[in-house]
Symmetry: C2
Subunit: 195 residues, 2 copies
Amino acid sequence: MKRIDPRSGVAFTMRRGATLTVSDPQGQQVSDLVAYNRDDVREVISNGRTFDYEETIHLGWGNRLWSNRSNPMLTITNDTAQCHDFLLTPCSEQTFRHFYPDKPLHRGCFGNLVEALEPYGIGSDDIPTAFNIFMNVPVDGESGLLAVKPPISKAGDKIQLRAEMDLIIGLTACSAYDSNGGSFKPIDYSVSEIV
Amino acid sequence: MKRIDPRSGVAFTMRRGATLTVSDPQGQQVSDLVAYNRDDVREVISNGRTFDYEETIHLGWGNRLWSNRSNPMLTITNDTAQCHDFLLTPCSEQTFRHFYPDKPLHRGCFGNLVEALEPYGIGSDDIPTAFNIFMNVPVDGESGLLAVKPPISKAGDKIQLRAEMDLIIGLTACSAYDSNGGSFKPIDYSVSEIV
């Protein structure tokens, strides 16, 4: 396993058929994931297309994450946490100003993804709503109100996703206060050989 | 008022401070809305940023629709229907193949938006999850499951949105079967002078 330090991010490629494992080594930490077609980075994960085809906002074991061009990009093949979010965008300077005006400014997962993805020719306007692994965002079906709660993931919880095409992945250890219960922790990940 | 014919779409510009009125002349019809910064079309409405800042998935009177760059683009200043969706993407050839394999293929709101927005230099990969006016997508907060139900809008229901920057708007009369209760109807709209 490789480690993503607290409040940082990485980017890497993975081949179709390989499996990405993301684990929460200490528990209650969030990891924002974005994915692009390695051969054409204008194809990107889309929460709207995923909600359309999977017919749920709770993505877990067996669900697929779809692209803006209606192609499956990743299939969730294992999921011990069973609580993730695909509604909210990566935290950023602007969200820190909005939600934490009394806290030190930070570029957030958004800034970390921008830096990590820049070598792949991916710019800030190309960053979509992320698949927020282990993020706990309950939604009240009646009122529509949502809230960012501490994750329910425990130390060692993990999710595994199989690539359905050659991909560029951006992945973070989240920088925001609310999404990780007020502390900043690392995230571990690995990419399997193709079986 | 101008009319958008059933299963078609339009695009137009509006200035900061102007108000867009979208009305459902016959009731139970959906209109997909997308918005771009007129001076830089890489700035676009974002459901994720909107859910972040408005802290709800039910957008209505008083809520703002935010851009991917964390700027307010539109403010909802009137809303007689009180039921809209910002989770799902515009219907397209691919969604027709997926959801209506026995029905004639149609390019859907997505294809209509692509054609209408092409003169503004906006391409198919630039079309985000739309703000789906009058669309009725209940979400079960426990399971996360969603469903596309017939709209609850009645003939004459309307929504009004004030532009918070100079905008390019794409707007449709929806082409899908489920979102409009199985029939295809027009949508009316107008843009006010700036007051």
